[in-house]
């Protein structure tokens, strides 16, 4: 029996890896997700055959309640709200790990083994930290908490102090595992640390936090695997941990920040002094009529959507406009900056929901060279990601950040609410360029007007 269970867990691990491998193309991705589901199902069924399980009441109750909530959440959630949903799920995964660690401790009968003790400590710590950290992230993204960074005096000192006391408590517990109070102290410390970790991070840095918490939820699962000496948990947890780390790195790079900067820096909202001094007269306001004429006479257009697009709920109007232009024989493509949404890849999902076919969506690296041969770059609700200062101005906080070269196109049309700076707080000289047409107003209204004009 033991052999069958072990082999089934191996099969499950293979299917998880195979599933993730299939995520490398949109054609196979859905199948990949299905393989991962199958892997999960195998792991669960095999576990239920375990001799250690004597009572199924609570298992069934838990599965039914959990599934019901899961199904409703997955069906109801708006695509714009994906970041907070993922944040919440990260937290639940971490929480489950913490509770399993505690449960394992409370059912230990014989003198516990050293490897289990160490694993319980680590699992509890990562799990609880992921749970509270994710809850704060959820609160910020959902608007329940202020999204601006909250930082107080001695913040980092306090974090360090808490971490040190965790290590001390961990050693106490390892020496004397019968004393449950040190374990509960670890639970408390980790919970507080999770909150303190996420609360100083805000606004544009949220994609990094979600990625990092994603990684933590994987590591929490892996640590539960260490507690239970179960390889399928260790392997799948490690896969998730690696995935989260990769995404964290990509997000940091796209925002031109180091991870340490994001976690300990609490920057954002630092307004550069030049603002206000700029001669705003140079901005020429255009009307939708002008823009639609330019669009109509173009041969190639690249659309650069930013999160402002999603805020204005203008994805569908944008799709309508792109469709009209394509029907007129104009080449229309989308350039997606890695931080265009509120989580990695978010903008792609929002556009896919608006029926934009994915072969029109291009990553920064794949399309940036094409801007110079493009007639119109249409920027909707984006700012920092097209700021040419990132390329040339060594004093700009954006300097070095990879940007979309909208300024290389023959004409730039920018739909924006106002001249207000982006998250970086830096002014954008592209707004003042001679080839730029600024259209102020709600993106949805502006685009809808242009659609009407184009169809007329």
């Amino acid at each position: 029996m033991k052999i069958i269970i072990t082999l089934a867990y191996l099969l499950s691990s293979i299917l998880f890896i195979y599933g993730l491998k299939n995520l490398s193309s949109p054609k196979t991705a859905r199948m990949g997700n299905f393989y991962a589901m199958l892997a999960m199902l195998i792991a669960i069924v095999v576990t239920l055959l375990d001799k250690k399980i004597v009572d199924f009441t609570f298992i069934i109750a838990g599965l039914v309640i959990g599934s019901a909530i899961g199904v409703i959440a997955a069906k109801k959630v708006h695509m714009t709200a994906m970041p907070q949903m993922v944040a919440m799920f990260n937290g639940l995964g971490g929480g489950a790990s913490a509770f399993v660690a505690l449960a394992v401790y409370y059912r230990m009968t014989a003198e516990p083994q050293l490897n289990i003790i160490i694993s319980v400590v680590i699992s509890l710590f990562i799990g609880a930290l992921t749970l509270t950290g994710s809850l704060v992230a959820y609160g910020k993204l959902q608007g329940l908490l202020k999204s601006a960074p909250v930082i107080f005096k001695m913040h980092q000192t306090l974090n360090l102090l808490l971490f040190t006391s965790f290590v001390i408590m961990g050693i106490f517990f390892t020496i004397n595992p019968n004393n449950s109070s040190s374990l509960l102290a670890i639970l408390a410390i980790a919970s507080v640390l999770g909150v303190l970790f996420v609360i100083p991070i805000g606004g544009a840095n949220m994609p990094v936090v979600i990625s990092l918490l994603n990684s933590c939820s994987g590591l929490a699962a892996a640590s539960t695997g260490f507690v239970l000496s179960n390889n399928v948990l260790i392997i799948s947890g490690a896969l998730v941990g690696a995935s989260g780390l990769i995404l964290t790195r990509i997000m940091c790079k796209a925002m031109n920040r180091s991870l340490a900067d994001v976690i300990f820096g609490a920057i954002g909202g630092v307004v550069s002094e030049d603002i206000g001094k700029k001669d705003k007269q140079r901005v020429i306001k255009y009307a939708e009529e002008d823009a639609s004429m330019i669009l109509e006479s173009a041969q190639s257009i690249i659309i650069i959507p930013g999160y402002g697009l999603a805020v204005a709920q203008a994805q569908f109007a944008l799709y309508e406009m792109a469709k009209t232009l394509i029907e007129k024989g104009i080449s229309v493509r989308y350039a997606i900056h890695p931080v265009a949404g509120r989580m990695p890849g978010h903008m792609n999902v929002l556009l896919a929901e608006a029926n934009v076919p994915y072969d029109l969506l291009f990553d920064l690296g794949d399309i940036n060279a094409d801007f110079q041969n493009t007639d119109v770059a249409l920027v909707v609700g984006a700012n920092d990601v097209v700021n040419p200062a990132a390329r040339v101005d060594k004093n700009s906080p954006l300097y070095g950040m990879p940007i979309l070269n909208a300024d290389k196109a023959k004409t730039v049309i920018i739909c924006k609410r106002s001249l207000s700076p982006g998250f970086s707080g830096v002014d954008n000289e592209l707004f003042y360029s001679k080839k730029t047409m600024m259209i102020f107003g709600d993106a949805k209204d502006s685009i809808n007007t242009m659609v009407k004009l184009l169809k007329a």
Partner: protein
């Protein structure tokens, strides 16, 4: 006594490498489904939760196990379903919708 832990560390490190190799190939287009999908996978903790909830050792252990089962199940079911919902929306252009 420490030996089983070392073997686990062994597996863990190798799996991290597999993860890096596999996931680096996922295009930015699919990063959100990747995240929600891996999120669901991290709900594998459910396996541990089930044993805790069903082993009937002590009340505390069972209750903790029950909470863990609920949390992990939401994570697994919700995560996979929402990933599928997203992936379904990704369509290629040349077929008219």
């Amino acid at each position: 006594m420490i030996e089983p832990l070392l073997i686990s560390v062994y597996i863990f490190v190798l799996a991290i490498f597999v993860g890096f190799e596999t996931i680096t190939k996922v295009p930015p287009l699919l990063h959100t489904p990747l995240m929600s999908g891996t999120n669901a996978i991290s709900g594998i903790t459910l396996v541990g939760s089930l044993i805790s909830a069903g082993s009937g050792h002590s009340k505390v252990s069972t209750i903790l196990g029950l909470i863990a089962v609920i949390f992990a199940t939401i994570n697994v079911v919700g995560g996979f379903l929402v990933t599928d919902r997203m992936l379904e929306m990704f369509k290629k252009g040349n077929k008219k919708d």
